[in-house]
């Protein structure tokens, strides 16, 4: 154990010791490798599929990290933004509203076959922007009532909002204005328009490379925004609010604006990834907007380390691979080898729950801890009974 720790510490020190040019060069090389990666694998194969999902989950996790990791507002209803992002593309990028404009459809900046289909069809990039805006607005709406609350009450209120939005998604087929239902209920909205972007080859189920590049682009954008935000005035305000709300307020941090901006930005990323997932899976299925999804994303950022950007990416990629590759793949029949008669796939959410408990008890700062967070967490834990009373005072 000690040797492993020492090993990682040495790596970290070596990295910090490198001249900036070398670090930048390393980054560029890694980026080029990531871009070229799909060419090494079959275009429609599992590898690119798993990698694409992992990247899209990273975007989601980075978004939730802003709310939970930076601003310290435990949001258990993040699935709401997945749903809203997915429905944005369901409404504006599919044949769902087939009756609009006398069944001729509305088309904005789309070409090819899509241009002739009924329903509303808007360019994918515009939809991404719309999804971000819709989710940011809802993020503020959900955030507003929680402003007066703290800690676990925020968690429950956001959870309740997430569940309500999930319910509306499932029952929305009965909410009608004229011909137009709000959602397609359990049937799901399908098919969804595939993106059609310049420079990239055709998006389709057999050629997953462009999906990968799109997801990579979104992940890089999210990373960039996350780093810039963390080091900005706003990011420092978030961390101040997380550490001590009263102190932050008395230092002149505007609490309302700071918190609402955290909700809005976090939600925006969720919406972006949600719209991407809907297009990628080619369906908006109301049944998937469940509480367990929020916990899946939360487990990613806990595993990686709350507030640590690289940690969150590592956590997202790890859990995504556990979910899409290891559990259905190599480890599926593991219980059978111990003489148990079930598949590991049945246990997936138990495994995530177990991860949450284990991480929180044994290594609450996560795999790649944020420096500040680590200090904060190791202060009290394990120092016996006194800590209890300090924490409650």
């Amino acid at each position: 154990m000690k040797e492993i720790k020492q090993f990682f510490a040495t790596i970290g020190e070596t990295w910090d010791g490198l001249p900036p040019i070398a670090r930048r060069g390393f980054g560029v090389v890694a980026l080029v490798l990531l871009i070229l990666l799909p060419f090494a694998f079959t275009a429609g194969g599992d590898f690119i599929d798993n990698a694409t999902r992992a990247l899209a989950y990273s975007v989601m996790a980075l978004g939730l990290n802003i709310v939970v990791g930076f601003a310290g507002l435990l949001d258990l209803g993040y699935v709401a933004f997945y749903a809203l992002g997915a429905f944005t593309i369901g409404w504006f990028g599919s044949g769902f509203y087939a009756f609009v404009n006398h069944e001729k459809g509305i088309h904005v900046a789309v070409n090819g076959v899509t241009d002739t289909l009924p329903g509303i069809h808007i360019n994918f990039l515009l939809i991404l922007v719309a999804a971000v805006i819709v989710c940011a607005v809802f993020g503020v709406l959900i955030g507003l009532p929680t402003l007066r609350l703290r800690g676990d009450y925020i968690a429950i209120v956001t959870l309740a909002f997430g569940e309500i939005i999930g319910r509306v998604a499932v029952n929305g087929d009965s909410l009608k204005v004229g011909h137009y239902a709000l959602t397609a209920g359990r049937q799901g909205i399908t098919p969804i328009d595939s993106p059609d972007l310049p420079l990239l080859s055709e998006f389709g189920p057999l050629n997953l490379r462009p999906w990968y590049w799109l997801a990579l682009g979104m992940a890089l954008l999210s990373l960039f925004v996350n780093f810039r935000l963390r080091d900005s005035r706003l990011g420092r305000a978030w961390i101040a609010v997380r550490e001590d709300e009263v102190a932050a307020a008395s230092m002149g941090v505007p609490l309302v604006r700071t918190k609402l901006l955290a909700y809005a930005t976090g939600a925006g990323f969720g919406g972006m990834a949600g719209a991407f997932f809907a297009a990628y899976f080619n369906t908006v299925n109301a049944d998937q907007f469940e509480f367990s999804f929020s916990i899946f994303i939360l487990a990613m950022i806990i595993l990686g380390g709350l507030g640590s950007i690289w940690g969150v990416v590592v956590g997202a990629i790890t859990l995504s691979y556990i979910n899409t590759y290891f559990i259905p793949g190599p480890f599926k029949s593991l219980p059978h080898t111990f003489g148990l008669n079930f598949d590991l796939t049945d246990l997936s959410f138990g495994i995530f729950g177990f991860l949450l408990v284990i991480m929180m008890v044994l290594r609450p700062e996560g795999l790649i801890p944020e420096r500040r967070r680590k200090l904060e967490l190791t202060e009290g834990v394990g120092s016996g009974e006194e800590a209890l009373y300090e924490a409650r005072a």
Binding site: R150, S250, L347, G380, E390
Partner: protein, 354 residues
């Protein structure tokens, strides 16, 4: 903590203050009465009389008795360590499953005689209660105690984690679909009829188990030595420790009590609804938590009151609106209460809610 989170307005017109006072006192009650009153009015307007709405309320009260038992678990734990024991709903689910399993083990079926059923139910109930109590204590020991000094979000996250673990246990136990339970008490059998309102076996069972349990619990917390220790720890853990109270044991004991109640609730739930399901605990947990907050979290009587009220709301919504919307309606109430009246009907201002 309290002052900073609420923007204070310096000047306020006098009539506005009066209005605000009025709403802060009566607003929640008005909102709670809205549903039953609206449907009662529509019943009278259409010439049907009040018996339908009274039957809804009767169902609500007996259903609410189950939520009250679960809500007590939340309120006890929150009162003493200010933690939302998220796994509590799933402990309740395990209670249902244990009770169901015990009938199988004891061989209690529909063809068993009345005495056999009664004996089987009592044994199964006691074992379910003990199992849930032990489970709850174990969860506290494993997932919450190591995190006493950590930020408050840490134990909440482990609680969510344990909730998932328990759900998965339930999933492996009885599978993913609804599981039918033998209708051992003939739940829908009409026992007697008061003014057009039918009292069925399930009502009697729910009320008959809940009321004695709650009375015993309240007396215990008020009068026993351990109850005194619990109240002292809830008020001020440090002072309690200085007075020679073993805080850890007291907290474990609180979890034990909560688990016992959840086990009893699990048994009644299985008999009342005659179906059990691995994810019944998630929704039940949130409903019961709403009940606990509604009554004023930390307050035992409040939890019972909240349970009954939420049971009525749920029943009216199931019967009059649509059962698919019930969760959304309950969650709507949860948000309203947590945001506008976090101290609930009977509670005092909590540190959390400010």
């Amino acid at each position: 903590m309290e002052a900073a989170s609420i923007p204070v307005r310096a000047t306020r017109a006098a009539p506005l203050t009066a209005l605000q006072n009025f709403f802060s006192r009566w607003g929640l009650i008005i909102v709670l009465l809205a549903l039953p009153l609206a449907f009662a009015a529509s019943d009278i307007a259409s010439g049907h009389g009040l018996s339908h709405i009274i039957e809804n309320l009767k169902d609500g009260v007996s259903n609410g008795a189950i939520w009250a038992l679960v809500a007590i678990g939340y309120t006890l734990v929150y009162g003493i360590i200010e933690l939302i024991n998220f796994a509590h709903g799933d402990v309740f689910m395990i209670g249902s499953f244990v009770a169901f399993g015990m009938w199988g083990t004891l061989g209690v079926t529909l063809s068993t005689g009345k005495l056999g059923v009664a004996g089987g139910l009592i044994v199964a109930g006691l074992i379910a209660m003990i199992a849930c109590g032990a489970l709850n204590v174990m969860i506290e020991r494993v997932a919450y105690r190591p995190l006493r000094g950590a930020p408050k979000l840490a134990p909440l996250i482990t609680a969510v984690g344990f909730s998932f673990i328990l759900q998965n246990v339930g999933l492996e136990w009885l599978g993913g679909s609804q599981h039918g339970v033998d209708d051992l008490v003939h739940a829908q059998h009409i026992l007697f009829n008061i003014g057009g309102v039918k009292i069925i076996n399930a009502d009697v069972l729910a009320i008959g188990v809940t009321v004695p349990l709650v009375i015993v619990l309240v007396l215990f917390v008020q009068n026993s030595r351990m109850g005194k220790a619990m109240r002292a720890t809830a008020q001020d853990p440090e002072a309690a420790r200085l007075m020679g109270i073993n805080v850890d044991t007291t907290i474990s004991f609180t979890f034990l009590l909560g688990g016992l109640m959840a086990g009893a609730a699990g048994l009644i739930y299985a008999l009342y609804n005659t179906t059990i399901r691995f994810d019944q605990g998630f929704e039940a947990g949130l409903i019961a938590f709403t009940a606990a907050v509604m009554g004023g979290i930390g307050n035992l009587r409040g939890a019972v009151l909240g349970g009954v009220i939420i049971g009525c709301i749920q029943q009216i919504s199931d019967d009059r609106i649509n059962s698919t919307w019930t969760p959304a309606i309950v969650f709507g109430y949860l948000i309203l209460i947590m945001v506008f009246k976090p101290q609930g009907l009977l509670g005092e201002e909590t540190r959390e809610a400010g």
